[in-house]
Amino acid sequence: MAARPLLWLLPIALVLGTVYVIPVADVVRLSFSDATLLRPAESYGLSGYAAMLEARDLGVVLRNTVVFTVASVVGLQLAGLLVALLVARGDRRGLPGMTALRTIVLAAWVVPGVANGIIWQTLFSEAPFGAINSTLALIGLPRVAWLSDPEMAMVSAVLANVWQGTAFSMVVFYAARRAIDPRLYEAAEVDGARPFARFVYITLPQLKGAILVNTVLVTIQTLNTFDSILALTGGGPGRATEVLSLHIFNRVFYNYDLGGGSALALVLVAISTALTLVYIALLGRGRT
């Protein structure tokens, strides 16, 4: 067909080029510069990277990022898998109400990140009338320092994140579970395999591809977003819940440190790119 695909691709090339390609290239340039948000670069060098490595808080931030991301990804996948398998089982047995359950979980996903942070702030509130603490008090249990204790604050941030994000994993696992050939289960039943054995020897191995792909996608999403943390804890107490993306944001837009912030932003892009390459490799393997 005599068509000029380039012409048809021009609009998205312009849009993505202006908003993604050029800015990312510019972040690379800025990371080698001494620019601040208020004045352009005057000299180039490795000072941004040096500042990045010297910063005392970087270790804390990276540790927070790893803890938050790993805990979230594990939590999101376990919760997503549980709901997906439950709904799939209900579907197979023709149980009513399963669509409602799916809708409820998806509704949490639609809540804007900032609203999510605000909602969980009212739940975790340590005032006498905070939702969880006043419930604990009603049944005679001690109050918990959900947001003022550094370690509990991280737990709280992860809980809020898992509540909101479970739907994504659920949808991915639900689709993958439905794609498993039912004959595998029939054969296992004939062989007398018990439900747990069927889960371990059929469901999990069959879902392996979906679990791997989902791990990569959920990790990238978790690394890249911080609006719910910002609204829930603001990164505190102290720096207890300040993850990498929030740290970059603070550095660039509050401290005006464009060089150091750009160097860190590149670290974020590098991690995402590495994970993306894994994702492509997984997809490629799935096709063959």
């Binding site: 695909p5 048809w8 691709l9 021009l10 609009p11 998205i12 993505l16 202006t18 908003v19 993604y20 800015p23 510019d26 972040v27 800025l30 948000l37 549980l82 709901v83 439950l86 089982r89 209900g90 047995r93 149980l95 109400g97 359950l101 809708t103 979980v105 998806l106 949490a108 639609v110 990140g113 900032v114 609203a115 605000i118 009212t122 739940l123 006498p128 009338f129 939702a131 006043s134 419930t135 009603l138 509540w163 994504f168 991915v172 689709a175 439900p195 890249n224 609006d227 609204a231 970059i248 660039v252 464009l258 912030g261 932003a265 974020l268 892009v269 995402s272 993306t276 492509i280 799935g286």
Partner: protein, 276 residues
């Protein structure tokens, strides 16, 4: 375990999960209909004894709150429509033409999403500053267009794929060019896909916080997501019920759209994530 007993166990776990997922939203609803006095009574008044709609009245009659809702609607709808408009020709090319690098380009479009908006906002802030576009809706809408393009391309491509080529060929025999065929034949037939892409973009835009937070400083111009964040930062315990009502009003449009198009979303997510 008999199948019947297993069904009961399924329901038990399902109820537990449903409760866990409903508690945060129902707590928000509970707070939003309380009087300040009942807010101080905590979980004991999960079901308020003296429910009131006063908080919603105050929020909805507040002029600046209405302005924020309008800002959100404007930015999201225009950004969503812009993304669909930019994506249509590309999605059509990916669906109908065969050319070198087609698959690679399609994957590249998808991969753009892996870059955090935060990263590109660092230089974009400077560009917009230089162009005098900081604090303008146009600048924010431009970024929303780019954020919506990847998903739009994929949703539109798959809906173009479902339009039979034979219908287009008939139009071509009648002398229609490619572009004319697209506008006259393919687009109307792919209407549901176009609507789905637009709605998905609008919903994503509604949740977007970082882009307007960074690019807009004039409080009269910010969308609802930024407005409730600012409100949350300025409130005290005595206005918790107002914050809850505002928060709920901010969530409801997204929730309503979502309930209307749930099936489309499930298809878009599972189609994009677990291909192959």
């Amino acid at each position: 375990m008999s199948p019947r007993a297993a069904d009961r166990a399924t329901y038990l776990v399902a109820l537990l999960i449903a409760a866990l997922f409903l508690v945060p939203l129902s707590w928000l609803l509970s707070l939003s209909v309380r009087t300040p006095q009942e807010v101080y009574l905590g979980a004991a008044r999960y079901l308020p004894e003296d429910p009131t709609l006063e908080n919603f009245r105050l929020v909805l009659t507040d002029r600046s709150f209405g302005l924020h809702l309008w800002n959100s609607l404007k930015i999201c709808a225009l950004g969503g429509a812009g993304a669909v408009a930019a994506a249509i020709p590309a999605a059509y090319a990916f669906s109908r033409f065969s050319f070198r690098g087609r698959t690679g380009l399609m994957v590249a479009v998808l991969l753009v999403q892996m870059v955090s908006p935060l990263v590109v906002l660092i230089p974009l802030y400077r560009y917009m500053d230089a162009l005098g576009m900081l604090d303008t809706h146009l600048g924010v809408i431009g970024v929303y267009v780019a954020l919506g393009v990847p998903l739009s391309v994929w949703v539109l491509k798959s809906s173009f794929d479902r339009v039979p080529r034979s219908l287009e060929e008939a139009a071509e025999i009648d002398g229609c060019g490619r572009a004319e065929t697209l506008v006259r034949i393919t687009l109307p037939l792919a209407g549901p896909g176009v609507a789905a892409a637009f709605i998905l973009n609008t919903m994503m835009g509604w949740s977007q916080f970082l882009v307007p937070f960074i690019l807009l400083t004039d409080t009269g111009k910010v969308p609802i997501s930024v407005a409730i964040f600012n409100f949350a930062g300025s409130t005290s315990a005595s206005t918790t019920q107002l914050l809850a009502a505002a928060c709920l009003v901010a969530i409801l449009p997204a929730l309503a759209l979502f309930v209307a198009v749930q099936r489309l979303i499930v298809r878009a997510v599972s189609g994009g994530a677990v291909r192959g």
